[in-house]
Symmetry: C2
Subunit: 245 residues, 2 copies
């Protein structure tokens, strides 16, 4: 299983993905589910992936290798907007699934989905979710986060506390708390977590960090949150005596 | 959609169910998903239900009407243990689905599942989850809570903080926080919440309360928790500056 999260902010983007691959023949490798397209001065593009690993790798690798090739249908280097980028990712997903589905379906589900985030010069940062069908939706100030994979455990904390005006630091903290909740409730999602705090106009995601269990910030955050939550629950008013407690 | 939760404690049981019915022709009624079998001095039995409403009502009503009838296959009044009770509920579910599935499937999913909780004299309180297949599992000190329906949003808080030695009051508070998380993240789960705090040896669930949005304790609990969580998140350490925040 997988958990990928993208958050669209006034200041930029926070993108986070776990790295646990499903049990099976692919489990010997730690899988990176947050893929950066090649460097370019006028754009930065991230593709986070969930679903069939062969499908997601085929889509991402094809687009990586076609970057700058000039083949309009595949070339994210020359897409004019992030909307076009999301469309190209969706089209590549459809092409891959169309080519493979008949062969793969007897063994498992070939489908996949993506979060596509980044910025192209002239636009603000943008964030899209590409569905298994290849169509897609965009994040906005009113629905500032998108999730794929094992999404539900980590959603309540974001629904409650992700403010539209949150800073990159605040959103990154909430993102990690959302991952903590998911990891505690579902063994198939696990660290390390690939995390990018992208500041609008930076046109680089070189600051991608890989947060593993030994990371001192991750440890401090989890401990502080767990202790604080425990104290909060203990401080809540007890139910009325008439309820029979 | 539905969310039902059962918690097995040393002191007894905490059982909670939402009351929102799916959109559709059944939506004019508030549906009670926490059904108590008739009163009897030596037993108390609750059946919480999720899934196809016609199926769950057929199962519950059949068992309600057969209570005390002496028909061994259906009579929860004469079951010797809660294990037998869970088996009878599972068998009734299988019989109902077998009778209806061919007719219902063209229109939708006929399946259902249940939480069966209660106590029969001579045993401690027990709690079971009856799957759609009619088989079932039992809660224990090591896995003290069971959920059916929309289970994931409300699971992290229970995974984190439900201690094996929790009191009825502590477990009831956590149960309501778990419902609050679910209700905030999923519109199809909604109040009122039917809630029972059952103390072992009491042999009555007459103290069932229906918690709606006007309930002062529910309001105070949600407000206190939301404010406390917001303050906790604001107090967490910020990510390292090297991460680019």
């Amino acid at each position: 299983m997988t958990y990928c999260l993208g958050i669209l902010l006034k200041d930029g983007l926070v993108l986070a993905s776990d790295s646990r691959s499903n049990a099976g023949v692919d489990q010997v490798v730690r899988v990176s589910k947050l893929n950066l397209m090649p460097q370019a001065p006028d754009r930065v593009i991230s593709i986070q992936s969930s679903g069939n690993l062969a499908t997601t790798q085929a889509v991402v690798t094809t687009l990586h290798e076609a970057f700058g090739s000039g083949e309009v249908a595949h070339d994210l280097r020359h897409a004019r907007t992030m909307f076009e980028v999301a469309g190209i990712v969706g089209a590549q997903l459809r092409a891959t699934v169309a080519a493979d589905a008949d062969f793969v379906t007897p063994y498992g589900d070939p489908s996949a989905s993506f979060l596509v985030g980044g910025q192209i010069e002239g636009e603000p940062p943008r964030l899209f979710q590409v569905y298994a069908a290849g169509n897609f939706v965009e994040a906005s100030a009113r629905s500032p986060f998108l999730q794929i994979g094992e999404t539900k455990y980590g959603k309540p904390i974001l629904d409650r506390l992700l403010a539209p005006g949150a800073s990159l630091a605040q959103a990154a903290t909430l993102a990690l708390i959302s991952f903590d909740a998911t990891i505690r409730s579902n063994l198939s999602v696990g660290p390390p977590i690939d995390l990018v705090l992208y500041r609008a106009g930076g046109f680089s995601m070189d600051n991608l960090v890989t947060v593993d269990d030994a990371d001192p910030y991750w440890q401090a955050l989890r401990r502080t949150y767990a202790e604080g939550l425990s104290a909060l629950i203990a401080s809540l008013p007890p139910p009325p005596e008439t309820w029979g407690a």
